[in-house]
Assembly symmetry: C2
Homo-oligomer: 315 residues x 2
């Protein structure tokens, strides 16, 4: 599976002259998913030549404006562009209320059906699932209820080593069972381990998105991720602000990457006080060297079959 994360915004509440509020477009094995939608999100997608009409799923982490004020403009443009594919939007109740009120009061009649999914405080579980992939929400810790999202590949049936079919004279039911990952018990009581019969599988793709939050503790839906995005609003020297506003420092993000044994850390959501976020990346890399500083226009490409994470240049 291949997933590409397009960075659309990296600022925290107050945007800067070159940073937009939070938004990422995730091409998740061909499914276009928007993760948060700060003001100007549609403008950033236009700049990066991303087709607005291909978005099918939108996940809003929480009800702070810098994570969803771009949603009404995006819906409005999709309507003008006559996009009519259905759109599933996962968001807190207050965000849904605000969106519905605006569309109603302004007399919108959108072409596309919108399916609203309310994300209740503390909810943990599956939001979307196909035979090949799953998106799960999990609660984070901030000044208001927030959800993180985990995007994961589900591996298909295992491939049988053809030589072993002959060697063990496997029956069709035995092959089916082995493809499902089961060990095989023969009539004589002998057990053949699944690993003896099937080819090795690649590590399933995993991307975890965590913002806004204090340091994220160990969590099974993050553990071993190819990439974890963890907000890094402050430097340790501004720890007092971080504690007061329930945000993370760059060091927190890096420690979470260590704790969750992820392969690659992506930081973002930088406070406007840091004109250039270089100090943040240095602080994170002291703890977790494999850290990338998200910037508008950057793309991160995960290929699970090749087991690679590539940072692609700004568009």
């Amino acid at each position: 599976m291949i997933a590409t994360i397009h960075i659309l915004g990296t600022s925290s509440a107050v945007p800067t002259s070159n940073r937009f509020p939070s938004a990422q477009l995730l091409d998740f094995g061909g499914e276009m998913m928007l993760v948060d939608c700060g003001e100007g999100c549609q403008l950033q997608m236009r700049r990066q030549n991303i087709s607005l009409g291909k978005i099918r799923y939108i996940f809003i982490s929480h009800a702070h404006g810098d994570h969803f004020f771009g949603l009404i403009g995006l819906l409005s443009t999709l309507s003008v562009l006559k996009v009519d594919s259905p759109l599933d939007i996962f968001a807190p109740a207050s965000v849904i209320d605000v969106m519905k009120y605006q569309m109603n009061r302004l007399g919108y009649s959108l072409r596309m059906p919108i399916i609203w999914h309310e994300l209740n405080e503390g909810f943990s579980g599956i939001l979307w699932e196909t035979p090949k992939a799953v998106v799960e929400a999990f609660p984070l810790h901030h000044s208001v209820p927030v959800h993180g999202f985990s995007f994961r590949e589900k591996l298909e049936d295992r491939n049988i080593d053809p030589d072993k079919i002959t060697l063990y004279d496997l029956s069709v039911p035995e092959i089916v069972a082995a493809k499902k990952g089961k060990n095989i018990q023969r009539e004589n009581g002998e057990i053949i381990a699944n690993s003896e019969l099937t080819l090795p599988q690649h590590r399933p793709l995993k991307y975890a998105y965590c913002t806004d939050t204090t340091r994220v503790p160990k969590h099974p839906v993050i553990r071993g991720a190819h990439v974890m995005y963890h907000e890094a609003t402050y430097l340790e020297k501004d720890r007092a602000n971080s504690d007061r506003t329930r945000h993370s420092t760059a060091r927190d993000a890096a420690q979470s990457a260590v704790d969750n044994d992820v392969e690659h850390l992506l930081i973002g959501h930088y406070s406007a006080r840091y004109k250039r976020p270089d100090a943040l990346i240095n602080e994170a890399r002291d703890v977790f060297p494999n850290t990338t500083m998200a910037r508008e226009g950057m793309r991160i490409r995960i290929d699970s079959k090749r087991n690679t994470v590539q940072i692609l240049p700004h568009k």
Copy 2:
């Protein structure tokens, strides 16, 4: 008086890779006034190093999202920045309702008092006035109720020619009357024309903002303006779209400039179908040569005492 128009957005409903939705920041003799506030308006102001906290007045022409979806984000940022100066916002009822609902549902407690002024359909008259300046609204013609805005300098008392005081032996009441622009009647019945007693005055500064609208007819609050902004969404070859959506062509804008005898025409609100709006400026200049194509980052400076209009380079 000096006024500077900062162009923040020039796109119509659908933004493009390099055009933001409608917004202008008008420094009107030192008073900072925002005229429309499309999505990303605060981002554009940040880019152009305009202090968000200095805005005191906001005028929203109509309830289409591309003219006000940036307002909630701007207010949110002003709150985060702890700006506490009062803000007067003039807008249609539906825009005010949408803003109030959002702030209430999201639990905002803004620091600055907001004074909401409802712009009713068809209203024509003064919105704001000081001894030195006035802002007037007037109805335009579009698919929904829209207001244009006229920003005008009010001239102070005339200056008396000192030589004439001696020559005519003017009394104090006569001087006061002459400063107010009146003719003077002497005891012997002789009338001295005001122009004989006072120095020539400069032409008062006038800026008229007209969007979204079909071609604006002659109107006294526009007539003779130093600069008129008139939307130019389409080219004449797309007249069918222009008629259907109640917008203007570049030729319409130019014809309105001729009809209103303005000095300088500024066009904007270009349809996304025109990647580069060069054809629009050419069409307008065929009818009204003194036309400028608004672009993000451009500034237009009007100095009424020097009677100059300067186009300043993009920031």
